[in-house]
């Protein structure tokens, strides 16, 4: 999978590149808008990561001119700015996504996956999710583990569904807050952890193999192996 990374800070560029390559992306790197345009014309990319603060041009105007040039791949916007520009919101409406610095690598990868999935819906949405002996019926909103029905609140079901969809991949607290509660907040209390503990108490019963793992300081992962 070919990816175009437009980022001017050399250090972040290197970090992202190694993280992305580790995740299996083939990465082209551009340090400014001019180079980015050349690379975008030279070969087709399936996804773009664009930093807003480029030395020669504003990131958004780069995205808009790339769109005019016929580049239709989804864009993940990186921003070190505090306020979210209205134009960024516009792009977000148009199917792109944005992430503020600093971010967790896991979150960046998850958002890339989401963007790619959004662009290639692929085969129809599954109605059942299965991880090990954990099974989720998305239509009836029911979860069973080893044949035993789990007593989940609707909110817990949504949380478990999100973890299952990302089984084997790490999700951060802010990703959970964003996707499950629809809030981009940074609480300085452990609200998400408490939800996970509760869910874990219901999903990982006594004598069962624990599925929900905490990666301290980073996030959570639902084991798929």
């Amino acid at each position: 999978m070919r990816l175009l990374l437009v980022e001017d800070e050399v250090e972040i560029q290197a970090l992202l590149r190694s993280g992305l390559e580790e995740a299996g992306y083939e990465v082209d790197v551009a340090g400014d808008a001019r180079q980015a345009e050349q690379l975008a014309m030279a070969s087709a990319h399936e996804i773009l990561i664009v930093d807003l603060g480029l030395p020669d041009r504003d990131g958004i105007s780069l995205i808009l001119s790339l769109r005019e040039m016929g580049v239709s791949a989804p864009v993940l916007i990186l921003s070190a700015r505090r306020s979210v520009d209205d134009r960024v919101r516009g792009l977000e409406q148009g199917g792109d996504d944005y992430l503020t610095k600093p971010f967790a690598m896991a979150e960046l990868l998850a958002r890339l996956r989401n963007l790619l999935k959004r662009n290639n819906p692929g085969v129809g949405e599954p109605t059942r999710l299965r991880v090990h002996d954990l099974e989720l019926d998305l239509l009836r909103r029911e979860a069973t583990r080893g044949g035993q029905t789990l007593q989940l609140t609707p909110q817990e079901f949504v949380l478990l569904e999100y973890l299952c969809r990302n089984a084997g991949r790490m999700v951060t607290r802010s990703m959970i807050l964003d996707k499950v509660w629809g809030m981009r907040i940074q609480p300085d209390t452990n609200v998400v952890d408490v939800h996970i503990y509760r869910l874990r108490g219901k999903v990982d019963g006594k004598g069962q193999q624990p599925l929900i793992r905490t990666l301290r300081g980073v996030g959570y992962v639902l084991k798929d192996r």
Binding site: E9, R89, R184, I185
Partner: protein
């Protein structure tokens, strides 16, 4: 002109100005007329007196030189009648002149000797006797039975008798009455016309001022790109508008400077933070042992807290300067609050705290979704961190006409009295607090940026009370930022 506060016209400045101007005009013209009236009436009286003096002289001559025989009465009466034909100020339409003029001659004893006039001479004689009559000085005379006074002049003849010639003031009074009537009519018309003209011109002029006021009041917090309307004319109002706009230019410029500084600061700190975090993550994935991972994880936590502190700190700084940038969209505060309560409920019950949420139903408002989310989450964080176990929190959300009111009450220890007055300042926190002391300052900054307010107090029954009011802002701000800022609140649930 779509004035939202449609005050009755009587309370407008235009009304007051035109009322006073009209009053001054009316009084002025009235005084001028009073002088004019006096002048005219004096003039008429002088002419009357001149006629009387002339006629009485003629009559006196005739009376003196006519022999007192049988023809005397006739001769004198003829002359008197003749004189009455030439009455001054006489109205043409009036046919009979007889009742306008009388002639009376008294003998030496003062009894009536000759009477020429309408009716009996007795009441006239009575009236004449009642007041002194120096010769050749016309006097006013009120006669019983006649409603208009006479102007009378007396002349003494050598034979000792006195003749009196009287002229009714009826025509004079009528002339003056006509004058007054016409004046009053014209005066009323002019005063009314003047009032209308003054009222409309001042209203037009003041409507420019009102437009400026309305435009200025629409230029809200941190929304400084609008300007008040200016006109091409070069009067005081246009000058006011231009001065206001220049002031706004300067404010916008300083605001822009502030934004540049805070943005640069944020940007310059975030980029290295991103690099540090990335490196930490890499070493975390390389660390195999728990002991190695532990400190890295702690540093990442600290780093995230530092980032959040940086964000909030800059937001609060901008908020204090009324420079917080908002990107508004329509949100449902009720739904948001329920979602937030749902998010915090497990943590609360873990600490044995209860949360009760009362709401009057969906509450749509226009606000910056991201900031309001963080603000509400700060309120919850605040309760979660400071309340001792076993307490409960009551939240009540009410929709008032054009504002939303959220009260948060708890039965905990309340705010320490020494920090209560400084609660919304930066870095103020209770002694046991572990936070960075920006929580409530941030709540205040966001409320302020939206044109709302937040107040804190201790309840009499014990415990703290926070009251947050936010304008709903639904009516105004039509299409300005709508097309881009329609961020759905409940984002897709993956």
């Amino acid at each position: 002109m779509s004035s939202k506060t449609a005050k009755p016209v009587m309370h407008s400045a235009a009304w007051r100005i035109s009322l006073w101007a009209t009053l001054a005009f009316a009084c002025g013209t009235m005084v001028v007329f009073a002088f004019l009236h006096r002048f005219v009436s004096n003039d008429i009286q002088q002419r009357t007196d001149a006629w009387l003096a002339g006629e009485v002289e003629v009559l006196g001559d005739v009376a003196e030189h006519t022999p007192k025989d049988a023809l005397y009465d006739r001769v004198v009466s003829e002359v008197a009648e003749l004189a009455s034909e030439e009455v001054p100020n006489r109205l043409r339409s009036e046919g009979r002149a007889n009742d306008l003029v009388f002639f009376l001659q008294t003998d030496t004893k003062g009894a009536q000797a000759l009477w020429v006039g309408t009716g009996s001479g007795a009441p006239y004689l009575d009236a004449i006797r009642r007041q002194p009559f120096p010769p050749d000085e016309p006097q006013h005379l009120r006669v019983a039975g006649s409603d208009v006074p006479f102007r009378v002049v007396a002349a003494r003849i050598d034979d000792g008798s006195v003749i009196y010639l009287g002229l009714s003031e009826r025509d004079e009074l009528r002339v003056l009455r006509n004058l007054r009537l016409r004046f009053i009519t014209w005066w009323l018309l002019l005063v009314m016309l003047g009032f209308v003209i003054v009222f409309y011109t001042t209203r037009r002029m003041l409507s420019h001022v009102r437009d400026i006021t309305e435009a200025a009041s629409r230029i809200g917090h941190s929304d400084l790109n609008k300007r008040v309307p200016t006109s091409a004319r070069n009067d005081e109002v246009a000058h006011l508008a231009r001065t206001l706009n220049r002031m706004l230019d300067r404010i916008e410029n300083s605001m822009h400077q502030l934004h540049t500084i805070t943005d640069a600061l944020a940007h310059d700190l975030r980029s290295p933070l991103t690099a540090i975090r990335g490196k930490l993550e890499m070493s975390l994935s390389a660390a195999t042992h728990g002991e190695q991972a532990e400190p890295i994880v702690a540093v990442i936590d600290e780093l995230d807290r530092l980032t959040e502190f940086l964000n909030t700190s800059l937001d609060v700084a901008e908020g204090k300067a009324d420079a917080l940038r908002l990107s508004k969209s329509e949100i449902d505060l009720d739904e948001l609050l329920r979602g937030m309560a749902d998010l915090y409920e497990p943590s609360m019950s873990e600490k044995n705290l209860r949360v009760a949420l009362k709401s009057s139903g969906p509450l749509a408002m226009r606000a910056d979704a991201g900031l309001v989310h963080r603000m509400i989450s700060n309120l919850f964080d605040n309760e979660l961190k400071h309340l001792p176990a076993g307490c409960s929190v009551h939240m009540r959300l009410e929709a008032e006409q054009d504002q939303a009111r959220l009260s948060v009450e708890d039965d905990g220890p309340g705010f320490a009295p020494e920090i209560l007055p400084h609660l919304f300042e930066r870095r103020v926190k209770g002694r046991q607090s572990s936070g960075h002391g920006l929580g409530l300052a941030f709540v205040e900054a966001v409320a302020r940026a939206h044109g709302g307010s937040v107040t804190a107090s201790n309840r009499e029954e014990g415990g703290a009370r926070l009251i947050l009011t936010l304008p709903r802002g639904l009516a105004q701000e039509p299409a300005a930022t709508k097309d881009l800022a329609m961020l759905p609140v409940s984002a897709s649930r993956a």
